[in-house]
Amino acid sequence: MSNAFEPRIVVLCCNWCTYAGADLAGTSRMKYAPNVRLVRVMCSGRIDPAFVLRAFQDGADGVLIAGCHPGDCHYINGNLKTMRRYPALETMVQQFGIEPHRLRLEWISAAEGDRFVEVVNEMTEQVRALGPLAWKQRSAVADLSGSPHAG
């Protein structure tokens, strides 16, 4: 393997829209950058900001949060909670010294396999241009590994 930088992007997505959209990209045999790993939750409303920080802390170069389009949430409005939580998360991540392009929120429906591909490819290139985050090395960050509790 070459030593060229390959971005590592964690995708936190909902089961009903984005995960299914990624499935559709697969059944349609679309091709995209192999730089993403999906972590499925039932609703984007389940995505705790701690998950995002944990991914960065682990070594992710980018984190994508994705869910159903506003108004289409399988759970009525869980995605709206994500939407409202996101600006705070964005600010927090930037205060930690992480570039804004490393975090992204997207609405990708079950019918939008092509959109999933587009977002993944675009984000991979954006993060590639930014280079490795190496958050641990970059700053002496306090240990965040303890989640609020064992739940």
Partner: protein, 654 residues
């Protein structure tokens, strides 16, 4: 006790193994902590594949199972069942999606194999922390809501009701019948549409198991599979249904005329009306928007002539609540707005009609009593039928509307039979795919109907020579002759595209359905489950899913009915086990969870100052879990530890 994890990697034929080196995935998995058994197999979902899992659970005393294969949305239920059969709690199973999310989307075999290893590692990391959950069941309400009273809804309602299950049918128009009631004859058999439909309509109205609500609309839907609560707005009819005898004198006497929706605006109806003479129910309603009394406070002629005294001026809209176990959506199709089709003369020339307008013109209850005449009352000597107007057209609808070729043939036959006019069909391809359809096409060829293979480019009244004077000229390139033709005719019929209903998006949202890119309701699976939707307990019937002719619509209605019935007769339904739970030791009683729960599943106990989740209402979305500032709510099967373990294992981070 340390978990004992079994990892099973599927080849899926060459679907996975053609790109991902499954042996390397197995080798990697075998080295991870707690993995005591790792194998590959050609088709894990096959009987022998499932057998491998079952046998290994027993032989290797597995306490966790990970299958690396396709999407959990595809086969998670299959493998959960296999685990349960071998005595392992089904929630101790985890799926790693290395097909849809890996082998199918990558070409670089090395990168795909490394990614597959990562995906399986994350699944194993989560599996290690899985906890057994209890499968829970709730009873299914023994009643089905059918939305839409067209032929799809009618068929479905009758099938369900005949099986002994109660049905509530909601139709927004005054009468059931839908588009089929507007037709005169049906292809290819030429039976009279009303003659075959009206008996079924009457059966619906008289069926002891069917409660028919016309002039009504669904206002809201709550609940979940087996247990929906539906609010239905019954619009004020201003006519007492219990008293009215449907004698029709009020309709005759009403002085106010407005264009009839049923007749495509080609003839008037009264302000007190029934949609058509054979309407079911036959009792009329007053259209408040056009009634003179409601506008000016004067008139009441209908009341004066109503012998049984059935007019109720103080009638109000009523919202009724129904509890149902399943919902069958049969809201039908719309048509493309023909005003966007002006190059074919619609709206500019009075003798350019849409297909549905011609149906009414040709119908014995239509504006001319079934005589095919021009706007000036004369009989046309030549008629052109233009196929694919708005269908198979990138500027309008990309899809084929599926009914036009056949109704164009039917029109050609009827026009020839009634007027002896020369009939031209301008077509791209003739699509005569159904039973008896090709035979009907052959019959028409022998009846002397002229077929021009070429889509009509435009219709004009600008004559280029004497033959074209006073005529509508259809211009088209005949692809068989290789030349541009100008054909002068008296009447033009546009086979305009079938389209989703105008409010399809709002209806989809109301019932938790999706829309396909073409705007029709999205089915659960395009081939194997065209009558189910992504929402359990909500089914689809008829042309609301895609354009369909009558035989297909009826078959779809019956299929949806039987699928709904199998849910109803099962009697119980499994509900979400992966619900949220409050850890009372950590709860500070702030009630934030209560605010974010979309289902009102969280209650707050004033005495203990603690929140509690009602598990039978909770759907397991986890929004409260992510919101709780004290970390006092656990989302079962997706708890923080499990998700964080998955993130930690998502890549080899070093």
């Amino acid at each position: 006790m340390e978990p004992r994890i079994g990892v099973f990697v599927c080849h899926c034929g060459t679907n996975i193994a053609g790109v991902v080196d499954v042996n390397r995935v197995v080798e990697a998995a075998a080295r991870w902590p707690d993995v005591v058994h790792a194998v590959e197999y050609k088709f894990m979902c096959s009987d022998p594949g499932q057998g491998l899992v079952k046998d290994a659970i027993v032989k290797h005393d597995l306490s966790r199972v990970v299958v690396a294969a396709c999407s959990p949305r595809m086969h998670e239920p299959t493998f959960r069942k296999a685990c349960a059969m071998a005595g392992l709690n089904p929630y101790l199973f985890e799926m790693a999606n290395i097909r849809e999310h890996c082998s199918w989307v990558h070409e670089d075999k090395e990168a795909a194999t490394l990614k597959a290893i990562d995906i399986v590692r994350a699944a194993v990391a989560k599996a290690r922390l899985l906890e057994p959950l209890q499968t829970r069941f709730v009873p299914v309400t023994q009643k089905v809501l059918v939305v839409g009273g067209g032929v799809a809804g009618i068929q479905a309602a009758l099938d369900i009701a005949n099986a002994g299950t109660k049905v509530v049918m909601v139709e927004r128009a005054q009468s059931i019948g839908g588009h089929m009631a507007q037709l005169d004859k049906t292809f290819p058999t030429l039976d009279c549409s009303a003659c075959i439909l009206t008996p079924k309509m009457v059966q619906v109205a008289q069926h002891p198991n069917i409660e028919l609500m016309t002039y009504s609309e669904v206002e809201s839907v709550d609940g979940f599979v087996g247990n929906f609560t539906v609010k239905i707005r019954r619009k004020a009819r201003y006519v007492d249904e219990a008293v009215c005898t449907a004698c029709g004198v009020c309709i005759e006497k009403c002085p106010k005329k407005v264009p009839s929706e049923f007749d495509e605006g080609m003839m008037p109806r009264k302000a007190i009306y029934r949609s058509f003479p054979q309407a079911v129910p036959g009792r009329p309603v007053i259209d408040k928007e056009s009634c003179t009394y409601f506008k000016n406070g004067k008139c009441k002629i209908c009341e004066i002539f109503c012998e049984p005294k059935a007019i109720r001026w103080d009638d109000q809209d009523q919202v009724v609540e129904e509890k149902v176990g399943a919902i069958l959506v049969a809201t039908g199709m719309g048509l493309i707005d023909p005003h966007g089709l002006s190059q074919w003369g619609y709206g500019r020339y009075p003798n350019v009609l849409t297909g549905l307008e011609f149906e009414r013109l040709n119908n014995a209850t239509g504006p001319t009593g079934g005589r095919i005449v021009l706007k000036d009352g004369s009989t046309p000597k030549s008629v052109a039928i233009l196929h694919c107007i708005g269908s198979r057209d990138r500027n309008h609808k990309e899809y084929c509307s599926r009914v036009c070729c056949m109704y164009a043939l039917k029109f050609a036959h009827l026009i020839k039979e009634k007027t002896h006019a020369t009939v031209y069909n301008f077509y791209i391809d003739m699509r005569c795919f159904g039973k008896g359809y090709e035979e009907f096409y052959n019959r028409l060829l022998h009846e002397g109907v002229k077929f021009v293979r070429g889509k009509a480019a435009f219709v004009t009244d600008q004559a280029a020579n004497d033959d074209e004077k006073g005529k509508l000229v259809v211009s088209a390139e005949s692809t068989t002759l290789g030349e541009v033709l100008r054909v002068p005719v008296d009447m033009v019929i546009l086979a305009s595209a079938v389209a989703p209903q105008k409010d399809a998006e709002a209806v989809a949202r109301q019932f938790g359905m999706g829309l396909s890119p073409d705007g029709f309701f999205m089915e659960k699976h395009p081939k194997l489950e065209p009558f189910s939707t992504a929402t359990d307990g909500v089914f689809l019937a008829g042309a609301c899913q895609s354009p369909k002719d009558i035989p297909d619509t009826v078959a779809h209605g019956a299929a949806a009915a039987s699928t709904a019935l199998s849910l109803i007769s099962r009697g119980t339904v499994e509900v979400e086990s992966a619900t949220a739970e409050v850890l009372t030791d950590f709860c500070s009683g702030c009630k934030v969870c209560q605010d974010v729960c979309p289902y009102g599943a969280i209650s707050f106990h004033e005495d203990t100052k603690l929140a509690e989740v009602n598990a039978s209402v909770c759907k397991g979305c986890g929004t409260c879990v992510a919101t709780c500032p004290s970390g006092a709510i656990v989302g079962r099967h997706f708890n923080d530890r499990q998700i964080l373990a998955q993130i930690d294992a998502a890549f080899l981070w070093e």
